[in-house]
């Protein structure tokens, strides 16, 4: 599973594209930014309009046709100049504001020139630049460049009319590339050169260059920028080994114990728990529920020592991050506590307490003669003691590698705020590895403080269905109201397949529709049991339909992970309001 994180600027650009296209599941091939890194309003609209009016899949195939060419950047600029004219003409009748936006863009184009440095001027491709000038000058009421006859022909070729369909657009663009740049597609045959670097160089380069995070079944406890560094097993190899080797249950179990610490259940209880929970789509799966305490029985090997060091390092990073922003988070805790307190006062009735006077409690009356206990009455107080438990499940799969410190800090804010309001709260991180779904209890109901939340780290996959089922089992069954909140990207994914069942005779990957359906069924079952299940969604827009399938309307979407505490507060308020 590859995870794409968007900065606020990128998300804004995407929103511009989606709004213009009218499609919110679009994954556009381009986003436009100005030299200051801000989304380019007009050109992002153009990208969206291209998706609205033209067949984006075919256009992407056309872009891919010159993607290997060393001149691809110049081609991109020219092609989009051509597309701009086409979609502008198509859209203008239904969106008159486009004329004003185009003019503003043209004026901004020339205004930017005045601010450009010499290096920026030198980096410009003259041929592209004169075409852009020719396009925008009349709109900005300026004199255009003096074009050569060939340049004028190119400008005409780039003024694609709005009457063209996708095929016509692609045909004309291909013709333009062939005629003016002698591009026939053969430049694509060049293969890219690959270098393999290790050690210090790898660590340095991955810090400097963009990186991709790939899940493997070998636990890699790193920041994304450190992937591939010393000590981490190569992903491909790990994956291959996992498929070819016969998995030995004992070895995997030892691996879990080494990586995540001993289980809070003994072998017998854990087996019973697995027997009751690992059924249906999760048959053959295992559970590991831990507080992260190292096992005294199992001597750590070299890998375990390395992992323990990495986990400790991540914990220290989490703590340092919190310390750096402690003032901000302290005010966050205050704000969230007040928000929860308000909600509790509005929606929870004061609980009667045992007293020596008041209304006789018939269930306890036997205690007076038998135990000489005079407290057999119930008295109303003003104190709100909510009969409520909150279980917060934090997705700790590798997709969260980039935001571990933030999630830990936000988890702490949530835990501490609920604790201060007297709400029973349990916080767990969940991830899956080698068929094991690991629930790391970061804060139990009875834990006096919340600092253990800083032990959060991200690694592995996420089997949401089983994690939810297990968390529900661990929730306080004595409470009348039980809330189960989950931080999710609505993209459950695990390397352990769904075993064949009566209807489907072959095993299926735990991902995509099958995993979404499984998680949705799990949420439905939990709601039937009386749980209120809500999600805080932090993920890609294309997963929103899956999110809705799984959680219905009980979700809050956050754009930045530092909105997590606020979102949990809103969900909590919403759930409290709905309690009878």
């Amino acid at each position: 599973m590859l995870r794409r994180q968007y900065s606020p600027e990128q998300r804004r650009a995407l929103n511009l594209i989606w709004a213009a296209a009218g499609q919110y599941d679009l994954d556009p091939p381009f986003m436009a930014f100005d030299p200051d890194g801000q989304p380019d309003f007009y050109f992002n609209c153009v990208v969206g309009l291209a998706a609205k009016w033209l067949d984006m899949a075919r256009l992407e195939a056309f872009f891919a046709g010159y993607a290997g060419s060393p001149r691809r950047e110049m081609f991109d600029e020219l092609v989009w100049l051509g597309l701009e004219n086409c979609v502008y003409e198509k859209e203008l009748p239904v969106r008159p504001v486009l004329a004003a936006l185009r003019q503003q863009y043209a004026e901004a184009f020339f205004a930017r020139q005045q601010k450009m440095s010499r290096q920026q001027w030198m980096a410009k491709n003259n041929r592209v630049y004169e075409q852009q000038q020719a396009r925008w000058a009349p709109l900005a009421h300026r004199r255009g460049p003096l074009l050569t006859p060939r340049g004028r022909e190119l400008a005409r070729a780039l003024a694609l009319p709005g009457t063209l369909d996708t095929e016509g657009v692609i045909r004309q663009l291909q013709e333009m590339l062939r005629e003016f740049f002698l591009f026939s597609g053969e430049e694509n045959s060049r293969t890219s050169r690959a270098f393999h670097v290790t050690g210090l160089w790898a660590a340095l380069l991955t810090k400097l260059l963009p990186t991709e995070v790939r899940h493997t079944d070998q636990l890699v406890l790193r920041r994304s920028s450190q992937l591939g560094g010393a000590g981490a097993a190569p992903g491909g190899k790990a994956l291959l080994a996992d498929h070819l080797s016969v998995r030995r249950a004992e070895a995997d179990r030892a691996y879990m114990e080494t990586c995540f610490g001993r289980s809070i259940y003994n072998d017998h209880d854990l087996a019973a728990l697995e027997q009751s929970l690992c059924t249906g789509s999760h048959r053959n799966c295992h559970l590991w529920i831990t507080r992260g305490e190292p096992s005294p029985d199992r001597p750590p090997d070299q890998e375990a020592r390395q992992l323990a060091r990495d986990a400790a390092r991540q914990r220290q990073r989490n703590l340092d991050f919190y310390a750096r922003h402690s003032q901000l988070y302290a005010s966050g805790i205050r704000r969230l506590s007040e928000q929860i307190q308000d909600a509790l006062h509005s929606y929870c009735q004061p609980q009667p307490v045992r007293a020596r006077t008041g209304r006789l409690d018939s269930r306890r009356v036997w205690r007076a003669p038998c135990l000489h206990d005079p407290a057999v009455f119930l008295r109303q107080t003003d104190d709100i003691q909510p009969d409520l438990s909150v279980d917060l499940l934090l997705d700790a799969s590798a997709s969260r590698l980039d935001s571990q410190e933030l999630i830990a800090a936000q988890g702490f804010v949530i835990g501490e705020s609920l604790r201060r309001c007297g709400v029973k709260v349990q916080i767990s991180a969940f991830r899956s590895l080698r068929g094991y779904t690991v629930l790391q209890l970061l804060k139990g109901y009875k834990d006096p403080g919340c600092r253990s939340i800083f032990g959060y780290f991200a690694a592995g996959w996420n089997r949401d269905g089983l994690a939810l089922r297990t968390a529900a089992r661990l929730a306080d069954s004595g409470c009348q109201h039980r809330l189960l909140l989950i931080l999710t990207d609505a993209s459950p994914n695990d390397s352990q397949k769904i075993p064949p069942s009566g209807g489907i005779p072959i095993s299926r990957d735990y991902g995509d529709e099958a995993a979404v359906a499984d998680t949705a069924a799990e949420v439905k079952a939990l709601r039937k049991e009386g749980f209120r299940v809500g999600a805080v969604f932090f993920g890609l827009t294309r997963n929103v339909p899956c999110l809705k399938t799984i959680y219905g309307r009980e979700f809050v979407r956050i754009q930045k992970i530092d909105q997590l505490a606020g979102a949990v507060g809103s969900l909590l308020q919403r759930q409290l309001r709905e309690m009878d």
């Binding site: 929103n15 709004a19 919110y24 239904v94 504001v97 004003a100 979407r557 009878d580």
Partner: protein, 304 residues
């Protein structure tokens, strides 16, 4: 109002039915003030046909639908069309039976029954609009069961059993899944005919704008309609909250523009600023800017 229904193309049989109902149930004395005079008309022929037929058949009506579908507007319009006094009850979490039916009160000399809105509605044959009915606890609504079903009666403990006037109807509104709402229980839902209101259509929204702003330029009316749909789509994709999908806000913004405020500020005041997250505001402003020019002024929107 009946002329408006004719213009809307509502089934003539339904219009005749409404006229007959009005003739059969004259307005009680002193109740003229309670007949609503809706600020907005509800546009939608099919919905009118269905809703009016339900009420003509003596049923109660539950209007369900997301924000900005015109649930309350339709309820008011129906009361107006049927010529009945209207009691609007906004439901909330602490709603109880005494609030709906009435409770004891001291009139200076003795303890007497102070009638609640449902009681009055039943007595005078009014239309009771139960606004956001799913905000209240189901237990509080149990008191309405006998009023809403075939028994059509209200038994006030310690006082009389009163019969619900044959002209009385109850119209519930609910936004399913709205913050603070809960599931209605089956017993209550079974006492209503449920009408799922669609989002206002492009054509009807154009009519609405032209009705309220006769001078609006057709070109810009179309763009404001599209702006509403753009915001709705963005909220539906969870990119922004539903606060900005505010039809009332859009009409208010146009009203401000008519008075001379420029489009950017008017839309800020009535739409964008209804959300308090700066990032969300940026996204909303982007949607607006992609439809409405920043320097758009009164002369362009309301020519002539």
């Amino acid at each position: 109002m009946l002329d408006f229904l004719k213009e809307e193309g509502v089934d003539p049989a339904v219009i005749e039915g409404i006229a007959a109902f009005r003739a059969e149930h004259p307005l009680p004395e002193g109740m003229a003030e309670r007949v609503p005079d809706p600020k907005y008309r509800y546009y939608g022929r099919e919905v009118w046909n269905q809703a009016a037929t339900v009420l003509l058949c003596g049923e109660n009506l539950l209007l369900a639908g997301p924000k900005a579908t015109g649930k309350n507007v339709l309820a008011e319009n129906l009361a107006r069309a049927f010529g009945r006094p209207c009691w609007d009850v906004s439901f909330h979490i602490n709603m109880d039976a005494s609030y709906l039916i009435g409770s004891d009160t001291f009139n200076g000399e003795k303890v007497v029954f102070g009638p609640g809105p449902i009681y009055q509605c039943a007595r005078y044959g009014g239309f009771g609009v139960l606004d956001e009915i799913n905000m209240a606890k189901n237990e509080a609504l149990a008191v309405l069961h006998a009023t809403l079903d075939y028994r059509r009666s209200i038994d006030v403990p310690g006082y009389d059993l009163i019969r619900v006037d044959p002209a009385a109807r109850f119209i519930g509104t609910m936004n399913y899944g709205y913050a603070g709402t809960r599931e209605l229980n089956e017993a209550l839902v079974s006492r209503f005919a449920v009408l799922d209101l669609p989002l206002i259509s492009e054509e009807d929204m154009n009519k609405l704008l032209r009705h309220h702003f006769p001078r609006i330029s057709p070109r810009y009316a179309g763009q404001f309609v599209q702006l509403f749909y753009d915001l709705h789509k963005k909220a539906d994709s969870a990119e922004i909250s539903a606060r900005a999908v505010d039809l009332r806000g859009l009409l208010d913004a146009l009203r401000l523009m008519e008075k001379g405020l420029d489009a950017a500020h008017a839309l800020d005041l009535c739409i964008t600023n209804k959300t308090f997250d700066p990032y969300e505001q940026t996204l909303i402003r982007d949607v607006i800017a992609a439809r409405i020019p920043k320097n758009l002024d009164r002369v362009k929107v309301f020519p002539g």
